[in-house]
């Protein structure tokens, strides 16, 4: 067993070394978020999205109004030929004065995930739509929110 392990370790070391060699001479796998697109305006990763706004509102019941925010798309830079999953999470929405924070249960994005089965470079996802449920205790004012986009191979 020890011999096998020693051989494996030597092999591993070589394979890692070889991998470096190959990566330096062949096309590396690229898979990253390239742009965030809000109503045809493109933003870089982690940039603010100043044109995000409330598109309309719907009375869900006597205690809830649902606000639909601007739709968002994600553009990818990839050379992957295998399916890619793009996930969006409405992280938070807080009053700029800190006097009211939305409960995460009242923040949602539909759909939360897109799977791109046949990816290509600069592929753009369908729209992610953020929604906010406004309750009677919501304080009126300016709010700061954030959406987290996550990319992964399948």
């Amino acid at each position: 067993m020890k011999k096998i392990l020693i051989i494996l370790l030597i092999f591993t070391g070589q394979s890692v070394f070889c991998a470096d060699q190959i990566l330096s001479t062949t096309l590396p796998q690229v898979m990253e978020i390239e742009k965030i697109i809000v109503e045809n305006i493109e933003y870089n990763r982690d940039d603010p999205m100043p044109n995000m706004n409330i598109k309309d509102s719907t009375n869900v019941d006597a205690n809830t109004i649902t606000l639909r925010l601007s739709p968002v798309k994600v553009q990818l830079h990839t050379n992957s030929s295998t399916p890619i999953s793009v996930n969006a999470t409405f992280k938070e929405l807080k009053h700029t004065s800190g006097i009211y924070n939305f409960n995460p249960s009242n923040l949602l994005i539909k759909p939360s995930t897109y799977t791109i089965n046949d990816p290509y470079d600069h592929v753009i996802t369908d729209i992610f739509t953020p929604y906010v449920n406004v309750k009677p205790d919501t304080i009126l004012g300016s709010y700061r929110g954030s959406i987290l986009f996550t990319l992964g191979g399948l």
């Binding site: 067993m1 392990l5 995000m52 869900v60 954030s146």
Partner: protein, 225 residues
């Protein structure tokens, strides 16, 4: 030794089996002091059927915006002019309250001490109509709304407001606050004004509370010009 072998194998296989996820955290700012009136899909909103012995039916934000949208942009007025205040109770949103003659008024002052104080200050006349808002609690940093029918041929109004602390009340017609003359009479605020000619059938009384929770009562006295 076997465990070490498995660990090394897993270490080798993992990067090939799973792609490295990449993330982007994008922030934004939105004002929720400009909520457009909602499309009213609610089916269980409570509403009042006009003034019933001064009773006020409390309903909540969803119905407020839905109902307010029906009276011409008042929802927009409220959301724009009440920044920093939470929406509290509202009444008359589905069916506006109706001012009544004094002979139709009947209430128990034992549970409405603030209203009793206001009632003592109205000019009691058979030719006038009155809107009674019985003793109500208003939460801190919130506003209440009362939607009511504007009585025909009675454009003059007097608001008699009794509260434990400071409250601001204003009468809104056609998205515009009606100017008033204000007098303070032994901690009772009396406001007088005249509703201009309008095609609107309804108006709103908005009561704003920037201080702590308190109880208040209001009577609006309408009279012919």
């Amino acid at each position: 030794m076997k465990k070490l072998l498995i660990f090394i194998l897993v270490f080798l296989i993992c990067p090939l089996a799973f792609g490295t996820p990449q993330t982007s955290l994008n922030s934004f700012e939105i004002p929720i002091d400009a909520v457009p009136p909602g499309t009213d899909n609610s089916t269980n909103s409570k509403h009042s059927n006009g003034l019933s012995d001064g009773a006020v039916t409390a309903i909540t934000l969803g119905s407020v915006f839905g109902g307010l949208s029906a009276i011409g942009g008042l929802g927009w007025y409220l959301t724009k002019h009440n920044s920093g205040l939470a929406c509290g109770c509202a009444c008359g949103v589905k069916t506006p309250l109706k001012p009544i003659f004094l002979k139709d008024f009947c209430t128990d002052f034992s549970k409405n001490k603030a209203l009793e104080k206001a009632f003592a200050l109205i000019d009691k006349s058979e030719n006038k109509k009155y809107l009674f808002i019985t003793d109500m609690k208003i939460k801190e940093k919130s506003y209440n709304t009362v939607i009511f029918e504007i009585p025909q041929n009675m454009p003059n109004f007097k608001i008699i407001q009794v509260a434990e602390g400071q409250l601001n009340s204003k009468l809104i017609v056609s998205n515009t606050e009606i100017p008033v003359k204000t007098n303070l009479n032994n901690k009772v605020i009396i406001k007088q004004g005249k509703i201009p000619e309008t095609k609107e059938q309804n108006a709103a009384l908005v009561i704003e509370n920037y201080k702590t929770e308190q109880i208040y009562a209001i009577i609006i006295e309408f009279s012919p010009s």
